[in-house]
Symmetry: C2
Subunit: 345 residues, 2 copies
Amino acid sequence: MALDDCEELLTIGVDLGGTSLRIAAYVAGSGVVDSTTLRTRLEAGPLAVVDDMCEAIENLLGRHLEGRELAGIGVGSPGPLELPAGRLHLPPNLPGWDRFPLLHEMEKRLHRPVILEGDANVAALAEFALGQGKALGVDSLCMLTLGTGVGNGLILNGKLWHGATGMGGEAGHMTIYPDGPLCGCGNHGCLEACASATALVKAAEGMVKGGKARGLARLMEKNGKLTARDLAEAAQLGDADAHSLFSETGRALGICLAGLINILNLPLYVIGGGVAKSWELLSPTMFEELERRSYVYALTAPGRVAARGMSCGGTLVLPALLGADAGLLGACILPLQNAGVADRV
Amino acid sequence: MALDDCEELLTIGVDLGGTSLRIAAYVAGSGVVDSTTLRTRLEAGPLAVVDDMCEAIENLLGRHLEGRELAGIGVGSPGPLELPAGRLHLPPNLPGWDRFPLLHEMEKRLHRPVILEGDANVAALAEFALGQGKALGVDSLCMLTLGTGVGNGLILNGKLWHGATGMGGEAGHMTIYPDGPLCGCGNHGCLEACASATALVKAAEGMVKGGKARGLARLMEKNGKLTARDLAEAAQLGDADAHSLFSETGRALGICLAGLINILNLPLYVIGGGVAKSWELLSPTMFEELERRSYVYALTAPGRVAARGMSCGGTLVLPALLGADAGLLGACILPLQNAGVADRV
């Protein structure tokens, strides 16, 4: 598809989640101009969800396509995804969608080409094109999103790396502690089982049940349950147990990142998601592990590069600039990247 | 440089090691036509080693360049390397070479362009262009070389991935067991500290010193020391302790590979080096860990892909086809890859 340089480019982005379905109309150079949020009707089955999604897309196109050129429709979907076929395989967050040909069903309804990618991959793309990647002008980055689970996306030489079968970028399931907590994927000690919001809360509940962490026990009694946000507030107010939970999260994250830095030697690693908002709580132990466990980091950390007389850039590990919208924004700009007009985002 | 399609292409490849210096003349399409091995005179300092190397290169050029076109000179060097500057930084296997501008010193003597890469990267390139990668026709692979240390190289979309500063491909220093054995890099529990020939021997010596492993103790007494080859022979003859050492090696390797598969989702992972010759001893536990710890592998293992109706290729983990010459061969073909005539290797 050759896109006209003069015309305004429209894209549609879809953030398909297990709970909600967010759809936006995006004008290149301007941003999101309209959006809709629907409940994901999981109980009605995948075909009904696709119907909902396509109806909302058609509505947005009806309202915003006039006088503009459609660059494409981008969808960020939970994985595992099979690409280029565009099918899901045993997705833990979309029960009943095993082998569902999402891409085919969407294109059948819309009669337009759809671009499908993993949800963590599109979030990485957004951070690359509109967040820290843009701010620093790098050509590659790795993003880890510490939320309910841990998402991961890689941009290598300006392009999303989705791997041979579309399932790349799953550092959230890298083993950190081989005998660590059970993960939803069936493995033990994955980053997701050690550094997600879910893992933080589980670890806190474990402390409370074990008769430790009296401050957190009181908080749990008062609120009925614990959330990652509660824990962050408690840690900031000086609760030593809550603080140690974030230190341990930083440690697991640091072990994972040390591996990624040694393997990939990228210029930038971005940490997003709700847990990353507690940057000052988790980053000290994270950086400690990076220094200990990655000699590539130890040689190329900020300041180190210049001191050693290297002419190349160093290794940066930074919190994300974009918030919870990263996935939706990434889906919106996916068609621009695919059409080779990434400079027009 | 535009290379003539008709003329025979010559390259020079150098495998710079801490013990020996191997230099070969390579004719594209035919292979190595001549080679020299020298001792690496570490005690004489880096400039003397470069003198030796360049003299040997000039000799080979004098004998083989006539009637041929020189595609370039490729060098595989121990790391950490800073690229594109071509300098070493605190290389553990070349003491006294910190900040040595290897590329500059070679080009100054040879008056010809030299291409420098990490030694494990060039071995991966050889396996890609002449070994398992060629046999299977894949466009990307990850190679792990289990020798004295553990080398790693990545080929992504047909090209060596050397990272932002030239230090990529160090999965040998991925943390497998956070509290595991001390590694030469200063970290604990690196793959290199758990799955190299050195690690195998250390673990065996530890068993013997601890009063366990009576068969290995007898072997050690008889031979004066233990080698990885001794251990492989003992395991093949049914020594349960030697067997368990290879099982543990396979387990560490499997944990590392599970991470790499989840992150990169490549079509092929190749295991080379002396330890990998004991494939039948270490691969059962390796595959066990892959199934447990990588859901990407569990979905895309051989046979699994077709059973799930996927149209894409699966994930293969195989022993290397090339032996100890992989590094030298890789250095020889590096100039062909860089000049965009990789099809003429």
